[in-house]
């Protein structure tokens, strides 16, 4: 890909890497069609609400310590500030650090949509800087400011002269993309263009892009075996830390969808290798990833030694529990960074994936390849029915109703509850490290077992609730509302 850090705008995933949100078929067909360029995403003439890309973009940026987010828009856009405040406080407390990041709105009103409010915005930026002396200021747009053509870039350029920390315009119009992961790219772009400095010296560090660093202490310990120090991004990152990420030995991530843009850009701009293996979920994933790290950092011997020691501890235990999981049938619904990774793990554990939903699908990664997780499945002749739907719950429910699987696995808030109302046990794979490495793969397998062993909660609830979808809908094909783009 060609990263243009001179522009504050990032092209959407649809335009940049051909991402889609509507498809029904099979995994192999999806892959074949993307390889030969015939894949066309569908739109829907009926859809349910999904997610705003600004939540992803600003969720990432507001987790950085001691910065300011100024969300220029009506109060509904900046409502995420309440959640960000809470998360910043509890995440910092967990780490034993202080985080004074502020996230404010501008409470834009009707008059502002007619006359504009760039002058007010300018004053607000200066006032926030005066109140909190943040280490960087991100000024972001909304649907409303985008449509009326509020020139945020000019305001930012203007105040830069008066503020001695980075001030950057972040373009977050929610209507720009159906793919909320575009927001991750937007946040990476903002960090790269305003904070990251060219390398001055190489360090023994690895950039580790993740969400909430829940496995931080454990990964620090693992990397000590290889004489490497992980830098977790962006939760609890400092602006100073971020300014040096171009000096790391490599970049890796827990979720390809999350880390893709940053990893590729650091490689392209500063020659920091991006580890493009399948991710760390499950046994094969963990080992493949470790070996790739060993390779790019020149530490293969140490990595092999670690793998051997750990296998001796965990593989027998995982083999034991596999006997009890064999034959289970699962439906999964996750972002593409996880769907095809978790499918692999389920296959490893002897659980059959009957249908996998990805909330979107990137035809190729920034470097033009088919995503590695997908390639692995195809190379190993693992195939199943698959669809792409941006969390369209009615489609998930139609599938669960038809297939009645033993298990539904999902990663996004508000989705597992519907499975259990259907009477289907569900595992909420929210923690990005839930299946990380040998240890957590074992825990994950045990959690699945615990979940299907006691189905009381699902059964109690399912017996008493009525589902909100009509009989008519359950009789329709999952893809009833899909239509070709352009129609």
């Amino acid at each position: 890909m060609a990263v243009n850090l001179e522009s504050s705008n990032v092209a959407t995933r649809e335009n940049r890497i051909g991402s889609i949100t509507g498809y029904i078929g099979s995994l192999s067909d999806l892959a074949n069609q993307s390889e030969c360029g015939t894949l066309k995403g569908c739109s829907r003439c009926f859809s349910q609400s999904s997610t705003c890309l600004s939540s992803c973009a600003l969720g990432q940026l507001s987790a950085i310590r001691d910065v300011a987010i100024i969300h220029h828009g009506p109060s509904g856009c900046s409502v995420a500030s309440a959640g960000a405040y809470y998360l910043d406080k509890v995440m910092a407390k967990k780490r034993g650090v202080a985080n004074n990041t502020v996230y404010v709105g501008t409470d834009m009103n009707e008059q502002d949509t007619i006359f504009g409010s760039t002058e007010d915005l300018r004053k607000i930026i200066l006032e926030v800087n005066k109140r909190y002396s943040p280490k960087a200021i991100f000024v972001t747009s909304s649907c409303a400011t985008g449509i009326i053509g509020e020139d945020i870039d000019s305001v930012v350029d203007d105040v830069k002269e008066e503020i001695d920390v980075p001030v950057v315009a972040v373009h977050c119009e929610g209507f720009k993309s159906r793919i909320w992961a575009t927001g991750f790219d937007i946040s990476d772009h903002a960090v790269l263009s305003s904070i990251v400095q060219p390398p001055k010296q190489k360090r023994n560090t690895i950039n580790f892009k993740n969400f909430y660093e829940s496995a931080r202490p454990e990964i620090i310990e693992i990397f000590k075996n290889f004489d490497l120090e992980p830098i977790f991004l962006y939760c609890n990152s400092t602006v100073e830390e971020l300014s040096h990420i171009s000096e790391s030995l490599a970049t890796t991530c827990i979720c390809g969808t999350l880390g893709n843009y940053l990893g590729n850009a650091l490689e392209e701009k500063y020659g920091v290798p991006y580890v493009r293996s399948i991710n760390q979920c499950g046994i094969v994933g963990f080992e493949t990833w470790l070996r790739e790290i060993g390779k790019v950092t020149g530490r293969s011997d140490k990595v092999e030694k670690y793998i051997e020691e750990q296998r001796a501890i965990y593989i027998p235990q995982i083999e034991e529990i596999k006997k009890e999981l064999k034959g289970l049938r699962a439906v999964i619904g996750m972002g593409p960074g996880y769907t095809f990774e978790v499918s692999r793990v389920l296959n490893e554990l002897g659980i059959e994936v009957v249908w996998a939903l990805a909330w979107h699908y990137d035809k190729k990664y920034e470097n033009g390849d088919v995503p590695p997780s997908m390639k692995y499945l195809l190379d190993n002749e693992i195939d199943f029915e698959a669809s792409v739907a941006d969390q369209q719950n009615f489609e998930v429910m139609n599938i669960l109703h038809k297939y009645q699987p033993d298990l539904y696995l999902s990663r996004h808030p508000g989705s597992t509850v519907w499975a259990i109302k259907n009477g289907t046990p569900a595992v909420y794979v929210a923690d990005e490290y839930m299946i990380f490495g040998y240890k957590h793969t074992l825990e994950f397998a045990r959690t699945i077992l615990d979940t299907i062993r006691n189905r009381s909660f699902e059964q109690n609830l399912a017996k008493r609730v009525k589902l909100p979808y009509t009989e008519w809908w359950y009789k329709q094909d999952v893809g009833t509302f899909l239509e070709e783009v352009g129609k």
């Binding site: 009926f46 859809s47 349910q48 609400s49 997610t51 705003c52 890309l53 600004s54 939540s55 828009g73 009506p74 109060s75 509904g76 856009c77 900046s78 409502v79 309440a82 959640g83 405040y85 809470y86 406080k89 502020v102 404010v104 709105g105 501008t106 409470d107 009103n109 009707e110 008059q111 502002d112 409010s117 007010d120 607000i124 006032e127 109140r131 909304s142 649907c143 409303a144 449509i147 009326i148 929610g174 209507f175 720009k176 993309s177 159906r178 909320w180 719950n393 009615f394 508000g414 989705s415 509850v417 519907w418 609730v465 009525k466 909100p468 979808y469 009509t470 008519w472 809908w473 509302f481």
Partner: protein, 432 residues
């Protein structure tokens, strides 16, 4: 005019999707960007019969911004009627269609003959906050759905209170208000929560009067119903918490409804006896703990700022420091609300500040001399601040992270006791 919204305590008008969600079997159909519902929802009882992630949504994209999204709106409504089993479909507009000029009313009018009612409310984010959006939804029901009724049901009273979900205690509060009215022999009718819904909406025109328990939210709705449906209203501005205010409330409602005075007094007497039985047993705790001082501050919407100030002053004998109203109360209501803060026992008057900038609120709290540890009842934003002042803190207003409420409530006699329990549960964890 745009302003610095630092530590924001409300959502935009589209937050009224939660008002619709609180009406059982009513579903919002959003004509908005794809992520508005996700942003505006909290995990506070949101996975009911409908949840925000299943609200039908036109998920407006770049093309719709240029060419308009009315076609998508039509297919979304049409298919929502087929896919989702609801009693009432409420189309809510976000910022985009209102800026680009989609005629949502015209599209909705095409569904006048649908099997289920479809109405719409203008709730663009820039039109105001979710308190305003709440009023817009109720206005839509009045204007587009309700008809005047010549037939009145004896004793039937519609009760209206503050904004569901924004108010953590909305469900418990409205049930308790119903109970209190039923005890003095009236027939309460409400549209929100369990076992309420379209049938209750249908009953609205038959009521003898509307009772509004809120400092300002829904005053406009009451006036609209008075004009269109001929229903008079009683406006009781203070959320009655504890014995003093609840007894006053019952007397006023009883008088307005023409209920026999002796009956009202009997109900009051019974409640006060039990209330003071509890208070007497715990009076030692209130007096002889070493951490709760006299001075307190509430940082909340007008409803809780006023209700809790009156309760702590008139029932527990505490003394109000500065109180902060954070709901962006429209200017025309501010004077009347400020006057209410001056009606406290022993001629006490509370100073009230209408402020949406959390930075300024925090500075004023820091500057005030509480003569000891402050007692702060507010949003999650006040937690760290109160800790830094070694004060006692209770999370009673949005955003809430410190408390899970399924159907707890602060209204009425029992509600006052619940609030005391919560305050002193904080106090007993400390020793000075």
């Amino acid at each position: 005019m745009a302003k610095l919204l630092d530590k924001q305590r409300y959502k935009c008008a589209l937050g009224a999707m939660q008002t619709v969600q609180a009406i059982t079997r009513a579903i919002p159909v959003l004509h908005s960007g794809p992520g508005c519902a996700q942003k505006l929802s909290d995990s506070t009882g949101s996975s009911g019969y409908f949840s925000p992630n299943i609200f039908p949504c036109t998920s407006i994209n770049e093309k719709d911004v240029v060419f308009g999204g009315t076609k998508k709106l039509e297919t979304t409504i049409e298919n929502a009627l087929k896919v989702i089993d609801a009693d009432l479909y409420v189309v809510l507009t976000g910022c985009i269609p209102e800026i680009v000029g989609d005629d949502t009313g015209e599209v909705v009018s095409r569904f006048a003959d649908a099997d289920k009612p479809v109405i719409y409310a203008s709730t663009a984010g820039f039109k105001g906050n979710n308190y305003k959006g709440h009023e817009q939804v109720i206005d839509a029901i009045i204007e587009q759905y309700l008809e005047k009724s010549d037939e009145k049901e004896k004793g039937l009273v519609n009760i209206w209170a503050d904004v569901p979900y924004q108010d953590l205690f909305w469900l418990g509060n409205i049930r308790e208000l119903e109970k209190l009215l039923a005890e003095i022999g009236l027939k309460p009718n409400t549209i929100f929560g369990y076992n309420r819904g379209i049938d209750n909406i249908n009953k609205i025109p038959k009521a003898e009067f509307n009772l509004l328990v809120s400092p300002w939210v829904s005053i406009g709705n009451m006036k609209k119903m008075e004009r269109k449906l001929g229903i008079p209203y009683l406006h009781y501005p203070t959320l009655p918490i504890g014995a003093y205010e609840t007894s006053k409330f019952l007397r006023e409602v009883g008088k307005f409804a023409g209920v026999d005075e002796a009956k009202v007094e009997a109900v009051i007497n019974e409640h006060e006896n039990y209330y003071y039985y509890l208070i007497e047993r715990y009076a030692d705790l209130f007096l002889e703990n070493r951490v709760i001082n006299k001075q307190f501050t509430v940082v909340a919407d007008a409803q809780y700022a006023l209700g809790i100030t009156k309760f702590l002053a008139n029932d527990l004998g505490l003394v109000p420091a500065k109180q902060f109203v954070v709901d962006d109360t429209p200017k025309q209501f501010r004077e009347a609300i400020s006057e209410e803060f001056k009606k406290l026992n022993f001629n006490l008057e509370a100073e009230v500040v209408f402020e949406t900038d959390g930075y300024k609120i925090h500075n004023q709290i820091k500057e005030h001399d509480y003569h000891g540890y402050p007692l702060i009842l507010g949003s999650y934003y006040e937690k760290e601040l109160t800790e830094s002042l070694k004060g006692n803190y209770l999370n009673i207003s949005w955003p809430v992270q410190d408390k899970v409420v399924l159907d707890d409530f602060y209204v009425g006699y029992t509600g006052g006791i619940r609030l005391i329990e919560d305050i002193y549960s904080v106090a007993v964890q400390r020793w000075n």
